[in-house]
Symmetry: C2
């Protein structure tokens, strides 16, 4: 943690400001969306496929050949009538999820999309290539390999809500950390946000994000989990276009040993971490790697701040702070840091 | 066409009103989203699968068993600070597409989501089960059969933009109808909105829409193409909750011979048709069937109006009037009809 103190007074002022803003209406210039990036892929000379669409019906012959769009990415924007921030804010979700991460929380509270709109940012919420409204492509012909489906139990420990993975239909039958901030009764609702993912499509996803940056930035980018690596690389690929990068529980980064970060001198970074790391060797290892990345950034002259929530007295946050019951408290700390970087008008 | 005349004066007044509204900011109470419907499906005793995720890497053993959410549907809402309509408006897209249908047009103009917000409606845009942010499930274990991928050429004739299917990268190389209103230079951008679809999931999709109606209605529903059949059935399944149904180029309906429509007496219907039917036996046949459905509705005491755009002097509309260059003109006629039903405050 360099330079910036998340002091009690700042946090309190922001919390009060937020409470007032919640009641307030938004003045919006436009809500819209687009697809960006991707390419035309033509499949030729593939054999016709015999597909039984429905049990009991005769198989149909399908010609899989033709030209298809592949690798495009969906983004939705909400532009304010009078934004108070200097740049738009881009919200990039994590693995196996979509932009829904940033919308209403699983237990029905306004999410970070609304929070940052109310703070005066134009907000862009995107779905990574292959997920959500970005669509996906025939595999293995266009996307390599097969998609992976996360079970409803897999995230419980992975996202540090409780001490072990495994799942039961009833919330009461699942063991959560006593102080968890995740709205555990809304876990099943949260798992409805899951979408299949490939593990072979990182280059396509990165290209989509880079195309988004070229289209809508200069901007500020907030990334979560798997989005971390894409965000760090997007900043390296367009350092003049990224005015700040906030990484919420990033799960990966470029290799600190071999990456030249010197172009990032004007891209301040904030890393945000929740609680329950002591119970997760998996996350300890990731955090160690991200620590090396932060160190490499700092050595290269990049400003890096780290917001470790428990060390600020904010305990119990999961891997999903934008859904936790104190989601607005965490968002207010991020907003305070962004304001301190001179990003508000 | 019963009762209502889409007169020149009404259309002109609306067109002028719309031009004024376009410049105007929206006052928004909340933007949010949720998933509705679906169930928990547990896969057991399936053999482990050996998957090569990436060429050249050793195969990984994957356990496909576990509990999964399946059949849930995503909906996003924009609620106005002071709505001028009595009920929210639900926009349901067609086959192989998502809610993006109603957002910004492929050539970058505000879509019907914005149009109806500016007319004073709270607007809900959803993705049908299996598509977009609704996610999709392992097949054939949970979803039956295989997904279908639409080529970039398939829609050109199917959506009545030009005289035959087939596709070329350059717009100039594709033959469009001379008077088409589809923004043909944005065709490739439009195809980026395509998502895979199953042909086995109609019951899941219907259940999702029915769950949405139970959650957010009373409401008005606007359906497009494949959404038509889902909308007609949703009205039959909850006639007290659907205050009006607008079917834009519907591609199907329940069987008029065997369906009791008497419960729909308070659900006025508007059917909207574009141009170029003379060149499409496929659509002539569909329109004939829909004519039988409209007749059955009228015989059952349901008010049915039909807006045949060419017969009103509005020529060249494709199957996608919400994307055509005169999209706001068509929307204004729909709005005039809705207002005439007493649905504005």
């Amino acid at each position: 943690m360099q330079g910036f103190r998340f002091g009690g007074a700042v946090a309190l002022a922001l919390a009060l400001g937020t409470a007032a803003a919640t009641a307030q209406e938004l003045r919006i210039a436009e809500i819209g969306s687009f697809h960006v990036g991707g390419e035309t892929v033509t499949l030729e000379s593939l054999p016709r496929r015999s597909i039984t669409f429905s049990a009991g019906t005769p198989p149909l012959e399908i010609d899989p050949n033709g030209s298809f769009q592949a690798g495009q990415m969906y983004a939705q924007y909400v532009r304010l009538a009078e934004p108070e921030a200097r740049y738009p804010l881009l919200l990039w979700h994590g693995g196996g999820l979509t932009g829904v991460t940033w919308e209403t929380t699983p237990d029905g509270r306004p999410g970070w999309q609304m929070f940052f709109l109310r703070q005066g940012w134009d907000v862009y919420v995107s779905d990574a290539v292959e997920r959500g409204r970005s669509g996906w492509s025939r595999y293995p012909e266009i996307f390599e390999g097969e998609p992976v489906f996360r079970t409803m139990g897999e995230g419980w420990h992975l996202f540090r809500v409780g001490p072990k993975d495994g799942w039961a239909q009833e919330a009461a039958q699942r063991e959560a950390y006593a102080d968890t901030r995740f709205p555990v009764e809304a876990w099943n609702q949260f798992t409805r946000q899951s979408v299949p993912r490939w593990v072979t499509t990182d280059p396509l996803i990165q290209a989509g994000y880079d195309a988004l940056v070229q289209k809508v930035c200069p901007c500020v980018i907030v990334v979560h989990s798997q989005g971390g690596n894409f965000g760090f690389r997007a900043a390296l690929n367009a350092p003049d276009k990224v005015k700040a990068l906030v990484a919420i529980e990033p799960s990966g980064s470029p290799d600190p040993a071999t990456t030249d970060v010197s172009a990032l001198g004007n891209v301040p970074h904030l890393l945000v971490w929740g609680d329950q790391f002591e119970d997760s060797p998996f996350w300890q290892k990731i955090r160690g790697k991200l620590g090396s990345w932060a160190e490499a950034l700092e050595k290269g002259g990049v400003r890096v701040d780290t917001l470790d929530l428990p060390s600020r007295g904010i305990e119990g946050n999961s891997h999903m702070p934008m859904m936790d019951t104190n989601s607005e408290e965490v968002a207010a700390l991020v907003q305070a840091w962004l304001a301190e970087q001179g990003l508000m008008r």
